[in-house]
């Protein structure tokens, strides 16, 4: 009995330990991004982000001017009891816990005395966010006190554009899908089976198939680059799944409730708005989260329909543009990426329950 309990304990330790490691592995990429977004540009480019954690590293204790000591850089020199040539000092000469390193050129450089100590290069602030969010010129104060004026990346207006795209692109298709789902579930009309089969068939159609013709139509209607255009596109592409899921849900609502409402003389429209919509809130919520995350995170449709006009550019476009143009500007990329993630992550963590429910409903049927 005792050995069985011990085996159980070992097993539980093993399971929890492995899972904890996997979870940490999953989190590290995001933590790296988040930590870096608060670091200064120079720090990000010269030292790794995990340097903000306490670690042992060489820390400068004092700087010696070799000319004041009358040293000649062309011959071996003795500093702090260590004798070395200029070339050796350039790379750094170690002696136990001390290190000497020559900074600068042969004629004007200085010798730095470093010691190995516990340290953390935690110099965190919100400057990157200021620079990435503002649309106007931003004055950046460096750690050495100098000021630099740079053009802001205007993420705030990209975020607003994303909201302007995402909110109607979520509400409109769900509204249209809800009307259609009610029609399929509770009305009779010719060709109902055919039209519903069409909805099901279109569930898996890749949207690539639609892009060229839709772009041509939009060019004719002057809808390219407009919010209306992208709302329509997201509505069309999101409709099959939304209609299908809502149909399954509305269909399963208790028939008696609806029939008694009909007997009381309510019209379809009244029943739909007063009875079906309130009853469908859980389904509507999970579909809304799906669609919102999908639209917010979409890159392809925005790329093709909105393009890179700053008036309508969404966050994914803006971020991808920085990756392409200035892929080394990690202080902007990290803070920009985090700004683009903050809205979907908030939605996700607040409404996770509905999201998971929607996923399960979709998979059982699909």
């Amino acid at each position: 009995m005792k050995s069985a309990r011990a085996a159980n304990f070992t097993r539980s330790l093993l399971v929890n330990g492995i899972l904890a490691m996997v979870v940490i592995l999953w989190l590290i990429p995001v933590i790296g991004l988040l930590v870096s977004s608060f670091r200064e540009r120079f720090d990000i480019q010269t030292s790794p982000w995990w340097g903000v954690l306490p670690h042992r590293d060489w820390v400068e204790t004092k700087t010696i001017n070799p000319r004041e000591l009358g040293l000649d850089a062309n011959a071996p020199m003795t500093v702090e009891g260590i004798t070395a040539t200029f070339e050796e000092l350039r790379i750094g000469v170690e002696d136990g816990d001390t290190r000497l390193i020559w900074i600068g050129n042969r004629r004007l450089g200085t010798v730095q005395v470093q010691e190995k100590k516990w340290t953390a290069t935690a110099n965190l602030n919100l400057e990157n966010y200021r620079q990435v969010l503002q649309g106007t010129d931003v004055e950046i104060k460096h750690s050495d006190g100098t000021l630099e004026t740079v053009r802001g990346d205007d993420f705030s207006s990209a975020l607003l554009n994303s909201l302007t795209v995402a909110v109607p692109s979520t509400v409109i298709p769900i509204l249209i899908a809800a009307f259609a789902a009610y029609g399929f579930a509770w009305m009779s009309f010719p060709g109902k089976r055919f039209w519903f089969a069409l909805v099901v068939a279109l569930l898996v159609v890749p949207l690539q198939i639609a892009l060229v013709p839709v772009l041509r139509d939009f060019a004719g209607l002057h809808l390219n680059g407009t919010f209306l255009g992208i709302w329509l596109a997201h509505t069309g592409f999101g409709l099959p799944l939304a209609t299908f899921l809502l149909y399954s849900y509305i269909r399963a609502l208790p028939r008696e409730t609806l029939e008694s409402a009909f007997i009381d003389g309510a019209s379809h429209f009244t029943i739909f708005t007063r009875l079906i919509l309130p009853l469908s809130v859980p389904a509507l919520a999970s579909i809304a989260i799906f669609q919102f995350l999908w639209v917010w995170n979409d890159y392809l449709v925005a790329l093709i329909i909105l393009g890179s006009d700053p008036k309508t550019r969404v966050v994914t476009m803006k971020l991808a543009a920085i990756v392409g143009d200035r892929g080394q500007d990690w202080h902007l990329l990290t803070s920009g990426a985090f700004m683009s993630m903050i809205v979907p992550l908030t939605v996700f963590f607040l409404l996770q329950r509905y999201f998971v429910r929607g996923l399960l409903a979709g998979s059982v049927k699909g």
Binding site: V15, G32, L33, S36, V200, Q208, P213
Partner: protein, 396 residues
């Protein structure tokens, strides 16, 4: 039992026919005013010379409110008609807009793309339809100058870049990314089921699902970042490699190991999608009756045997569903590849080729043929879904 049709009579407004016609006319008038108002709103939004937040708010009110208003007005109009017409036309008000959008944005484009794919660079020439009626011979002669038949499809399967893209989609995205995602999702689901912090762990594994592919590309670009050998590596992967005595590389553009540099893109998608597989499989695991597992344990089955002999067969339906969903998803993979490498260094996929051919090279015939290949690839799933729908309906 009362049907909607029988009871619909009650909702009809009482009153003489003239009053009804007047009300009908008024509703039509309101509808026209509404259309005009929405059109003015559209012009106002297209100008866009007000502060950004105001425009955003106005756009949202205009878009969402406009759709709701149109439904309301059209329905009022239909309800004012005689009962027979109300029952006939109301489905059109409810289902019509949805169907119309589906046809405009998905069904017709599929056919049009198929048509375009049979033509050369610029697609079929735009000819006035009247020409077809007045001089059909001339019409078809003009079409045939651009007609290339199956040539675009032959090109899809012979073009060097396209073959590379097909290889990557099949070998790396379907062959490696998909099973890796499903297997890691399954293992994590099983581990989480037996752990003491299931909810927190699942939440974190699932979290990347909320992140855009562009955002994820930035995150992983940072992990793969490379500095010159000798200077400190700020990318996590290269820091580990250098600490272990290796040479730092740019990984995704490391053409010396091509095509295996695709694996570094695969890792990103596995990181993003494992949560999806895990959530579905985890729900299925909860559905395995505890008695079966207990009985097997009493009979002396090891945990490994339990996993392979009982859990896997029990989860098979879910595993297939998840695998299918991820295969469909990886077939269309675009954002990650486009942002990380732009399809260079031998990492092209079908969707990046589609984008490049259709929108950069402006070769719409070739691009459309690629899109049709994608459609054909998902057709078995479509047929399966339709079969299931038919079976369900037959059951009723």
């Amino acid at each position: 039992m009362a049907t909607p049709q029988q009871t619909a009579k009650r909702q009809q407004p009482a009153g003489n026919p003239i009053a009804r016609i007047l009300r009908f006319g008024l509703t039509v008038l309101i509808l026209l005013i509404a259309f005009y108002g929405l059109y003015l709103g559209f012009l106002f939004l297209r100008e866009g010379d007000r502060p950004k937040w105001f425009m955003a708010l106005a756009a949202i009110v205009w878009g969402v409110g406009g759709v709701a208003l149109l439904y309301y007005l059209f329905n009022s109009l239909v309800e004012l008609l005689p009962v027979k017409w109300t029952t006939r036309l109301q489905p059109l008000v409810f289902v019509g807009p949805g169907i119309a959008l589906l046809i405009w944005f998905l069904a017709l484009p599929a056919l049009r793309t198929l048509y375009i794919s049979l033509f050369g660079r610029n697609g079929p020439p735009t000819l006035p339809l009247t020409l077809l009626l007045s001089a059909p011979g001339e019409y078809f002669a003009a079409l045939s100058t651009q007609f290339v038949g199956w040539n675009n499809y032959i090109a899809v399967f012979t073009d060097r870049l396209m073959l590379g893209a097909l290889r990557n989609n099949i070998l790396f995205w379907i062959g490696i990314a998909t099973p890796l995602t499903v297997i890691s999702g399954l293992l994590i689901a099983v581990l989480a089921d037996r752990s003491n912090f299931e909810r927190a762990a699942k939440s974190i594994i699932f979290m990347p699902m909320a992140i855009s592919f562009v955002g994820a590309s930035v995150i992983w670009n940072f992990i793969y970042e490379v500095n010159a050998p000798g200077s400190p590596q700020i990318g996590l992967l290269n820091a580990v490699v250098v600490a272990l005595g290796g040479q730092p590389h740019g990984w995704t553009n490391y053409t010396a190991i091509s095509p295996w540099n695709n694996l570094f893109l695969v890792i990103i998608v596995v990181w993003l999608q494992t949560g999806f597989a895990m959530v579905l499989l985890s729900a299925a695991i909860k559905g395995i009756p505890e008695e079966i597992l207990e009985a097997a344990r009493v009979d002396g089955a090891t945990e490994i045997q339990l996993f392979f002999r009982i859990m896997i067969p029990y989860l098979m339906a879910t595993i297939i569903a998840v695998t299918t969903t991820i295969i469909i998803f990886t077939l269309k993979i675009f954002d990650v590849v486009w942002v990380m490498t732009g399809g260079q260094f031998g990492t092209d996929v079908i969707a990046t080729q589609f984008y490049r051919q259709s929108f950069i090279n402006r070769n719409s015939g070739f691009g459309s043929a690629i899109a049709i290949i994608l459609l054909v690839a998902v057709t078995p799933v479509m047929v399966y879904n339709l079969r299931r729908l038919r079976d369900q309906e037959a059951f009723r």
